[in-house]
Assembly symmetry: C2
Homo-oligomer: 459 residues x 2
């Protein structure tokens, strides 16, 4: 036997000895861990998948990995859109699935301490009876884990008003590559002791450590009525201008979403209702909390003044119908073929330019790119539709042009999905060479042997 | 001449050549830079103080400093309470005073781009006419700089509702120790490209780089009426319990402040009004925005149920009177002697225990420690009064016990003032040895020669 074969066998044996009954090596079982929802797949199955049940278990896995130089790919529910948690040959997939307990809820301190494997939706279900909620709201919330949301700094529909994941985490326990445990952040709302390593961990995509416990900042459930506005416009430009006007007037809706004509075409077919006949763009706005009705009235007036055909309702069923038009966007797009879901963000007042660029790319490359957008924070999801199993080259070329254009507009490559393997080729374009090098050095401080999710983010 | 003398002379000459007319070496002038508001003073004056007017100027200073191994102490307005910006022998004081321009305000994007030397109050004055504000609200806001607020991650009265400085900064331009310039963060509301070095810079107390441009996240000015509640209680325990109840009931007041009997004694003497006769503790609450009156009514009811004598008003003059009782706390304490203003934070439901510990320390060490508290986020300012120029040993011993106790309660050494030189002896107690070492290594990534504010934070 050569060393190359002996070593992996030894690693698996060591894992089995340390975590009896928690190590799987069945090839079919392992296949799940080679992909996520990005369309990327690693070139082969990992060595093993391990299901720790405790911090001690995770520390044992990290010690085995670091002493043998074996890479670890930490995994939540595998709902990522950037290939950040796909494991390949020679790697250990570290699934947090079975560390899914709520350890504490404090109503006085508006905090919860949870294990990372709990689903966002399950946690919020448990919190609701106590009048609390955790605000991060990715579209995947019913099927994605809290730990995954934190590792990606997940966004969602509610960010403009309620913030992204970074604003909803107080503290973390993290196992380092070599198995040591650190506690970063504070249980208190304020705290300025040393560098903010908690913020550094959030969005680090499994490259700096393994998150094993999360102290979350909660909010009281929003009371009062919810008012929803749906408005059709004759053009995406007028809809984007109306959305800008909402912000300029000082309103902070809970939700402000925009869909272009291509998306309306998809949804029309999907739900069997003629939306395109009603307009070329759809703006969805939801107001909640104190004063929701008054604010919604002011917003409706300004939408009508901007040429929108606005319908406002406080009726829950009717409200749900207006919101569902937006929620159906991705399922509807997926019926067209395979999709590459992109995720640029631009300053709020540059939305029209971003949409125009997407139309131009569609024409020039013969592509179909329906685009929905979190208009409240300038985050667009241009969704490149393609046929076949792999992303065609011209889709990548067009996507690359779009990334570059987003940077030109003062925006970013990724608003909420992360870099993973999908965008690592463009990372240095956004960071610049000096910052790119600093970030690599920070990675080396935490993980000198580069065993934590190697090849992700930095490529 | 020995090298030790030649080198500094050379540095000053180089600085004068690079920034003609912007370098001061007059000893009396330099004296200002040896202290801040912490009561700490460095052992002598720095080599020089430099007043850059541009990013290029700062880069030139950093190049001279790094090539000669000369430490740089970046300085805002010198209002710090932890000795984080005091400069001493052999060091360059880098004053950001003259980089104080507003470079851009975007009403569509709710952002402002400013130079770091602008005063928080001046910026907010300029923003008000456009219906916007920058939320960080340290007590020093009229005399402290935006750059200083960011370097310390400043807090204030409004944090429980409107967040700390970290939540109000989108992006920064930073000059590194060797003079290279990086841009961290995003102009967009969302962005998850690589590690969050913007958050890492916030609160780093001048040890990682020199902040030369700040892209700030603004909010629309809060509209509607402001309702203020002032309530006297028979004990600090019942007042703290009432504050906890406000949170438990899901209310988020803009301000929630608590003062103990010792503080009321000081303020009584200072303003010539008998507050102590009205109770042993004072709770100040302010509600703003939509629904303020309804919320204030509910809060007043719960305060009365908890034994508080609550007075609620929407009248601006009367409101100001209730707020001023709190705003006078520190000026009133300062009439008693010199003060060491402490800054622990504890989980909101442990306030009573923290107050009890402070009373116990007063008795055991024969000290006077009036304490005001941001009750909305558990941040206490125990203010150790002493006579004479230097902090007596037993004050340090008592303060040390209090820090340890704050950690035992699940709290932190410093909620909003920073570590500086004041608390560096306790830093490792809170971080633990592993994280302490990681933080030092991160410092070394940014500043391998340790010329940026050496001796601060890490000691």
């Amino acid at each position: 036997m050569t060393t190359a074969v002996t070593k992996p066998l030894h690693v698996v044996e060591d894992l089995r000895a340390a975590l009896p009954g928690r190590v799987e090596t069945d090839a079919e079982h392992l296949l799940t861990y080679t992909s996520d929802r990005s369309g990327h797949r690693s070139p082969g199955v990992p060595l093993a998948v391990v299901y720790p049940r405790s911090v001690d278990d995770v520390q044992a896995v990290c010690r085995i990995a670091s002493s043998s130089g074996t890479p670890i790919v930490t995994r939540g529910a595998g709902t990522g859109l950037a290939g950040g948690a796909i494991a390949g040959p020679g790697e250990i997939a570290l699934s947090m699935r079975d560390m899914d307990q709520v350890l504490e809820v404090s109503e006085e301190n508006w905090l919860a301490v949870v294990q990372p494997g709990i689903l966002n939706g399950e946690l919020n279900h448990a919190l609701a009876s106590r009048g609390l909620w955790w605000a991060p709201d990715p579209a995947s919330k019913d099927i994605s884990t809290v730990g995954g949301n934190i590792a990606m700094n997940a966004g969602g529909l509610l960010c403009a008003k309620y913030g992204v994941t970074r604003e909803a985490v107080l503290a973390l326990k993290v196992v380092l590559a070599d198995g040591r445990l650190i506690s970063v952040g504070h249980r208190t709302v304020k705290g300025v002791t040393g560098y903010d390593l908690c913020a550094l961990m959030i969005g680090s995509e499994g490259t700096l450590g393994v998150i094993v416990e999360c102290t979350l900042k909660l909010r009281p459930l929003v009371r009062g009525e919810i008012v929803t506005i749906g408005a059709f416009f004759d053009s995406i430009e007028s809809a984007a201008a109306a959305a800008s006007e909402v912000t300029r007037n000082g309103h902070v809706p809970a939700i402000m979403e925009l869909m272009d004509r291509r998306t309306l075409e998809c949804v029309s077919r999907f739900i069997g209702e003629d939306l395109v006949g009603q307009g070329d763009a759809y703006l969805l706005i939801q107001c909640d909390g104190d004063g929701a009705m008054t604010t919604a009235q002011l917003i409706s007036d300004s939408i009508r003044a901007a040429g929108g055909r606005a319908e406002a309702t406080a009726d829950p069923t009717e409200s749900q119908r207006l919101v569902d038009l937006r929620r159906q966007a991705f399922p509807a797009m997926e019926t067209l073929g395979h999709v590459l879901v992109e995720d640029i963000a631009v300053p709020r007042d540059r939305l029209s330019e971003a949409f125009a660029k997407i139309r131009e790319l569609e024409e020039r490359y013969g592509l179909v790119i329906p685009t929905a957008c979190h208009a409240g924070d300038g985050n667009l999801h241009p969704t490149f539709v393609f046929q076949g199993e792999t992303v065609p080259e011209q889709v990548w070329v067009a996507a690359g042009e779009l990334f570059t254009y987003a940077l030109e507009l003062g925006g970013t490559l990724t608003g909420e999905h992360g870099i993973g393997v999908l965008k690592r080729a463009w990372l240095a374009d956004e960071l610049g060479p000096t910052q790119y090098e600093l970030q690599r050095q920070i990675k080396a401080v935490f993980d000198p042997a580069n065993i934590l999710n190697p090849g992700k983010v930095f490529g």
